[in-house]
C-alpha cells in the first residue's frame, strides 16, 4: 500500500511539473469532438444520433495518445529498472501506473464529456449516465493500454505498435460503452449495457495487471 501511494503521488507530481504533456490528450479530445459538427452539420437532432460514437472514439484516441508516455519515460531515464530490480512484486507498480493514467486522462475525459456532449445535443438528464459510462470505460482502457504499453516498451516504432495492439482489445469496451451512452441519451433503460461494461472492466482489473507485471520484467531486460 505504501508503495502504491508513493508511486502514485510520484506520477501525479510529475504530471503537475509537465502541464503541457498532461493536458494534451484532454485538449485533443475537445478538439476532435468539436470537429464533428463542423464536418457534418450544426443540427443538434442529427448530432445527437452520433454523439455516443464521437465521444467514445474521441476518448479512446485521447487515452491512446497519453499511453505512450505511461512507461516509456520511466524506461528511458532508468527509474523503471530500479523499480523492477527492487520490487518482489510489480503489481503495486502497475496498479499505481494505471491509477495515475486514469486520474490524469480517463477521469478528466469523463468529466469533460458532458460539456462536449452539450454541443452534440446530449440532453442534460443524460449527463450522469454519460459520465458513468466513460468512467467505467476509461478504467478498462487504462488497464488494457498499460499491458500494451509494457509489451511495446522495447520495440522499434513502439508508439504505432501500441495503437495497433490496443485497438482490437478495446473493441468490447467501445461497443458496450457506446451502447450504454446511446441508451442513456435516448432515455431508454441502459442497465444491461452498463452491467456488461462493468463486467468487462472488472475482468480487465483482475487479469490485466498480472499480465502487465509479468511482461514488465521481460521488457526491461
Amino acid at each position: 500500500m505504501r508503495h502504491f501511494g508513493l508511486l502514485l503521488t510520484r506520477d501525479l507530481r510529475l504530471a503537475v511539473r509537465r502541464p503541457g504533456q498532461t493536458l494534451l490528450p484532454i485538449g485533443f479530445f475537445a478538439m476532435v469532438t468539436a470537429l464533428f459538427p463542423l464536418a457534418l452539420s450544426p443540427r443538434l437532432e442529427e448530432l445527437r444520433g452520433i454523439a455516443p460514437g464521437v465521444l467514445w472514439v474521441g476518448a479512446l484516441l485521447a487515452a491512446l495518445l497519453s499511453l505512450d508516455h505511461l512507461l516509456r519515460d520511466d524506461a528511458a531515464d532508468g527509474t523503471l529498472e530500479q523499480l523492477v530490480a527492487a520490487s518482489e512484486s510489480l503489481l503495486s507498480l502497475v496498479l499505481a501506473k494505471v491509477a495515475a493514467h486514469w486520474l490524469l486522462t480517463g477521469l478528466p475525459l469523463a468529466l469533460l464529456a458532458p460539456l462536449l456532449g452539450a454541443g452534440l445535443g446530449v440532453p442534460v438528464t443524460a449527463m450522469p449516465g454519460v459520465i458513468l459510462a466513460l468512467v467505467l470505460g476509461t478504467v478498462c482502457l487504462s488497464l488494457l493500454g498499460a499491458a500494451a504499453a509494457a509489451l511495446t516498451l522495447g520495440a522499434r516504432r513502439g508508439g504505432i505498435l501500441l495503437t495497433l495492439l490496443t485497438l482490437p482489445l478495446a473493441v468490447p469496451v467501445v461497443i458496450f460503452g457506446a451502447r450504454a451512452t446511446k441508451l442513456v441519451i435516448e432515455g431508454a433503460n441502459a442497465a444491461g449495457a452498463f452491467y456488461l461494461l462493468a463486467a468487462v472492466t472488472v475482468l480487465a482489473l483482475t487479469l490485466a495487471p498480472l499480465a502487465t507485471a509479468a511482461v514488465l520484467r521481460i521488457a526491461v531486460e
Binding site: 473493441v171 461497443i175 499480465a211
Partner: protein, 246 residues
C-alpha cells in the same frame, strides 16, 4: 515415462525429424481430401434452390473461418506452453502459426465479401461473423508486428506469447460483444450454416473440405516449423552435422 515424452517434445532435433517424417503423409492426405471435397462441392452437388451456384463459396469460406480461429487457439496454446515450461520449440510453433493464421483469416474475409455481394447486394455488411473475423485479423497483425519489432529472439518469443494469451482471452469477449451489438441493430445474419437442414450432398463435401483445410494447416505447419527450427538452431551441433551429411 511421461518425463521422457515431455522432454522429447521439447527437443528441436526430435521435433524436426518427427515433422520431416509426418510431412509427406500430411501433404498427400491434404491433396486427397481437398480433391474429393472440391469434386463433391463443385461437381456432384446440385445448385442451391435459393442462392444458385453462389452458395458454393461456402466450401472455401466456412473452412477458412474455422481454421483462422483454430490456428489462433493453437498459437495461444503453444505460446502458453512456451511461457510456462520455457520450451523453445513451443515458441517456434507459435511463431509458425501467425502468418498462415492471418492468411486464412484474410481468405475468410474476402470470400465472405464475395458471397455478400449476391446475398446482400453489398460487399461489406456489418455481419457479426465478418466483424469478429476482421478483429481477429487485427489480432494476428498485432502479434506479427510485435514479433517483428524485437531483434532479440528470446524477448520476441516471450512478449508475443503474452500478447497471444491476452488475445485468446479477448477473442470470446469480442465475439460476444459483436453479436450482442449486432442483435440490437437487427441486421440480417444470413451466414448461418443451418446444418440440420443441409442435404447430405452438400454436407459431405463440406465436411471433407473442413478436414482437408485442417490437414493442410498441419502439413504447412510441419514445413514452416522446420524452417523456423533451422533458423533458430543454426549454430547448434545437430544442424551443422545434418548440413555436413547432406
Amino acid at each position: 515415462m511421461v518425463f521422457t515424452w515431455f522432454h522429447r517434445l521439447g527437443s528441436p532435433p526430435h521435433i524436426y525429424r518427427l515433422s520431416e517424417r509426418l510431412s509427406p503423409w500430411l501433404t498427400w492426405s491434404t491433396a486427397l481430401l481437398i480433391a474429393a471435397g472440391l469434386y463433391g462441392g463443385l461437381v456432384s452437388s446440385p445448385p442451391d434452390y435459393q442462392q444458385g451456384d453462389g452458395f458454393r463459396i461456402i466450401y472455401v469460406h466456412a473452412p477458412s473461418a474455422w481454421l483462422s480461429l483454430m490456428i489462433y487457439s493453437c498459437m495461444a496454446t503453444a505460446a502458453a506452453v512456451g511461457l510456462i515450461w520455457r520450451m523453445k520449440v513451443a515458441h517456434a510453433v507459435a511463431a509458425s502459426c501467425a502468418g498462415v493464421g492471418a492468411a486464412f483469416t484474410a481468405v475468410s474475409l474476402i470470400t465472405g465479401m464475395l458471397w455478400g455481394k449476391p446475398m446482400w447486394g453489398a460487399y461489406w455488411v456489418w455481419d457479426p461473423r465478418l466483424t469478429a473475423q476482421l478483429i481477429l485479423l487485427f489480432l494476428f497483425f498485432g502479434y506479427m508486428a510485435l514479433r517483428a519489432s524485437y531483434d532479440d529472439a528470446s524477448r520476441a518469443d516471450r512478449l508475443s506469447a503474452w500478447l497471444a494469451v491476452i488475445g485468446i482471452v479477448n477473442v470470446p469477449i469480442v465475439k460476444f460483444s459483436v453479436e450482442w451489438w449486432n442483435s440490437l441493430h437487427q441486421a440480417p445474419s444470413v451466414m448461418k450454416l443451418a446444418r440440420a437442414s443441409m442435404p447430405a450432398s452438400m454436407l459431405v463435401p463440406l465436411l471433407l473440405m473442413f478436414a482437408g483445410f485442417t490437414v493442410f494447416f498441419l502439413a504447412f505447419l510441419s514445413v514452416r516449423l522446420r524452417a523456423e527450427i533451422l533458423r533458430r538452431e543454426k549454430h547448434s551441433a545437430w544442424v551443422r552435422e545434418m548440413v555436413a551429411n547432406a
